[in-house]
Amino acid sequence: MLKYITKRLLLIIPVLIGISLLSFLIIHLSPGDPLSLKYGLNPEISPQAKEYMNKLYGLDKPIIVQYVEWFKRILTLDFGTSFIDDRNVLEKIKERLPATLILNILSLILIFVIAIPVGVVSAVKHRTVFDKITTFFLYLGFSMPSFWFALILIYIFGFKLNLFPISGISPWYLEFLSPMEKFLTFLKHLFLPLITLSLLGLTGLAKYTKSSMLEILNQEYILMAKAKGLSAKRVIYIHALKNALLPIITIIGFAIPGLISGSFIIETVFSWPGMGRLAYEAIMSYDYPTIMGIGIISTFLTLIGILISDILYAIVDPRIRV
C-alpha cells in the first residue's frame, strides 16, 4: 500500500508539469495581451511606455523561456506578482481563500446531509408521491439559473422581508460591533449565499444517490437478504446503502479542488470576496501570473483529491484492492 501511494505521489510531478505547460501555452497564445487591455486606447499612455512595460514584465521573450522562468520560480513557491496591482499572487490568493473555503465547506456539508437522505428515501419509495415531488424539485433546482435564484432570494429575504443583508460578507462598521454581534452579522451574511449554493448543489448528488440506490436495490443479494428474513430497515440501511455510497467517495475526491474554486456567479451577485471573482478578474485582464497561480494550485488539489478517493476506495471496497 505504501509503495502504491509513493508511486502515485511521484506520478503527480510529470502530470503537473504537463498540465501547467499546456495551460501556460494556451493562456499565452490566446489573442490579446495584458498591456493592450490595460493601456490600449488610453491617450495618456504612449506606445513606447507600453513597449517598455512589455519588456519589464518579460513578455517579449519566447514563450518557452517564459515558461521555464515561471517554473523555476514555482519550485521555490514564488508565484510571481500580479500584473494588475503588482502584489504577490500567493498573498492575493490567501486573502480570498477564507471567504471561499467557509462557504464551500459549509455548503458541502449541507449538501451531503440533505442530498443523501433525500436520494435514499426517494429510491426506497420509488414511484410514490414523495418520490414524484422530490424529483420535481430536484429537476427544478437542477435547471434553475443560479444568478436568477440568488437574485430572487435577495429580493424576497433581503429586500422585502429585510431578514438578511443583501450583499457582502461583513458590514464596514464591523469593528464597532461587539464580538457577539460580529458573529451574528457574519451568520446573517452567510445565510443567503449558503442556501443558494447548497440548494442548487444538492440536486446532482441527490439524483446520483437515488439512481445508485435503485440499482443496488435491484441486485440479487438484496433479494437474498430479504428472503433470509432480514428486516426492511436492515436490508436498506446496512446492505444496500453501504454499497450505494461507494461511488460517492469519488465525488468527495472531486469536491476537494472544488473547495477552493469559488463560483463567479454567486460571488458576483452576493458581492462575496472569493476565489471565483479573483480568477475571473485575472482571466479577463490577462493577468498571467495570477491565472497560473490559481491554476497550478487547483490542478495540484485535483490530483491529490483523485489520489485520496482512490485510496479510500481501496480501503472500503475489498474488491478493488490488489
Binding site: P31, G32, D33, S36, L37, K38, Y39, G40, L41, N42, P43, E44, I45, S46, P47, Q48, A49, K50, Y52, M53, L56, T81, I84, D85, D86, R87, N88, K92, E95, R96, L151, I154, Y155, G158, F159, N162, P165, I166, S167, G168, I169, S170, W172, Y173, E175, F176, T268, V269, F270, S271, P273, R277, L278, Y286
Partner: protein, 560 residues
Amino acid sequence: MSLKPSCQEQNKIIKISSVLRNYKKLNNQAPLLCVAVLIFLLGLTYFTFANDTRFCGDSFVSGDLADARVLVPFLADDTASASICGFIFSGLTKIDKDLHVIGDLAESWDISEDKKVITFYLKKNIFWHDKTPFTANDVKFTFEQILDPQNKSPYGSNYKNIEKIEIVDPYTVRFYYSVAYAPALSKLGVGIIPEHICKNKKYSDFSDSPVGTGPYIFKKWLKNQFIMLSANSIYYEHIPFIQQYISRTIPDQSVQFLELLSGGIDQASLTPDQYFYRTNQKVFRQNFNIYKYLSLGYTYMGYNLKDELFADKRVRQALSYAIDKKRIIQGVLLGLGEECSGPFSKNSEYYNNNAETYSYNKEKAMQLLNESGWHDINGDGILEKNGKKFRFTLITNQGNKTREDIAVLVQEDLAKIGVKVDVRTIAWSAFLNEFIDKRKFQAVILGWSIPIDPDCYSVWHSDNIGGNGLNFVSYKNEKVDELIKKGRETFNTDMRARIYQEIHSLIADDAPYTFLFVPYATVSISKRFRGIAVEKSGIYYNFIDWYVMPDEQKFNFINK
C-alpha cells in the same frame, strides 16, 4: 500646528441657517409667532453656548462596481483607484468646479518668459496624515519616482519633457521643461506622495496603507469588500464634515440598486433603465435625490481615411448628416445624453458652439453623395460609383451593449440613403491588436474620455498616424497640426480657447468622425446629504462641504 477653520466654526454658519429655516416654517402659522420667536431666541442661546460638533458626523457609503487596484496616484490606471486616490492625496494643482486649474498644494505659480520654467510656491501649513510637514522635497521625489521606469508608472510620458526639478527652498520648487508645454499645469496635479515613507517602501506595500495630504485619511481596506477613509482633522481647507467615506464593492448593478433602496449604501450610479423605470417608487422619491450631469467622454463613429471609400470629405459629411443622432440618444440612452460636434468638453471654453453639428438631414446627405459621384444606377437601393457598391463594415468591441445598439441604428439610418453597412463585433483585445493597431478596418464605433486639458495631440495630430498611435483614422490636416502645436505652447486660457475652438470647427468640417453623443452621468444619493450642487465638473468637487443634519445622521455610533 493650528487647526484650520474648524468644524465648529463651519457648523455655526449652517446652524444659523437651520434655525432661520425653523423660524420661517413656524411663521406661516400666525398664532404661533410668539412661540416661534421664543424658539428662535432659545435657538440663539443654544447656538451661543453650544460647543459641540453636531454637523460633523455621519458616514457616506458609496456603492461601486469594481474595487480599487492600487492606491498610489501615479500607478492608478482605473477609475475606482483614481477616485479613492483623489480623497487621500492632493497634487500641486487641482480642477475646480468650472473645470479650471487652480492651486491645491501650490499657493501660486510663475511661468518664465520663455514658458519653459514653472515655479510653484507651496502652501506652508500642510502636513502629511502622519503629521510630518509637507515640503518641496516631496514634490521633487514624486516626479522623480514617476519618471523612473522601474516604477512602471503608465503616465511617465506625460512628464518626459521635464529636464530638471529644482528645490529653491523648502516651499518653492521649479520645473524646467525642454519645450513650452501648457498641459503641464493640469498634469502636475497628480497626487504627491510622501518621500519620508516611500523612499524605503515598496509601492505594493505603500498601496496597502497610503499616506497623503488629502481630505481623508486611509483607515482600512478589505480587498473586494470595502475601503474605509476617515476625515483628516488637519486638512488645510477645513475638516470634511462627513466623518467617514466608505467605498463598498458591489459588482452587480441590480443588487447595488437593492442595497441603495434598503439603506446599505448611500450612493449608486443609475443605468438609463433604472433612471426611468425604477425611480418612480415612493420609497425612492422620499429618500433619494438624483443628480444628472454631462460625463467627461463621448462616443463617435470613426472612418478610416486611408480607405478610398471615405477619402472624399463630402462622403463623410453626407454620412454624418444621414445618421440621426437624436434617435440614437433616445434609443440607446433613453435620452440621457447630449449631441456633440467635437472632441472637447461641452462645459469648457474650448468647445465651439458654432461648429457644424450635422443635424439629421437626409436630403442634404443625398445631395452630397450625388455630388461626389454616388448614384443608385441599377435601382437596387444601394448607391454605386464606377460599378462599385457603397458598402462597408462597421466594427465595434464586443460586450458593450450601447455600442452594439448604436451600430444597428446606424445601419438602419444609412440604409435609407442607399449605403449598405455590415456590422461586426469583436472581442476587445483582438479588436485592438488585429483591427485598430493594424488599421485594418473601415469604420468603427468607439468612445474617448475627455481629459481636463484640451491638448489633443495624441489623438488628432498627424504624428500619431504611424505605429500604434491613437490617430488610427489617419486624420491629417496641416492647419490642425499647427494649431495643436500652438495650443501646447500657449498658457493663456483665452488664447487657448480661441485655438481649440478653431481646431474644433476644422475637425467638425473635415468629419473624420461622426460625433454622436456625450452621455449623462446619473447618480442617486441619499437625501440626508446636503450641500450638493451640480456644476460643470459634476458634483464631487466640494465633497468636504457636504453635511448631514444632526437629527438625520445615521452612523453616529462610530464617533462615540
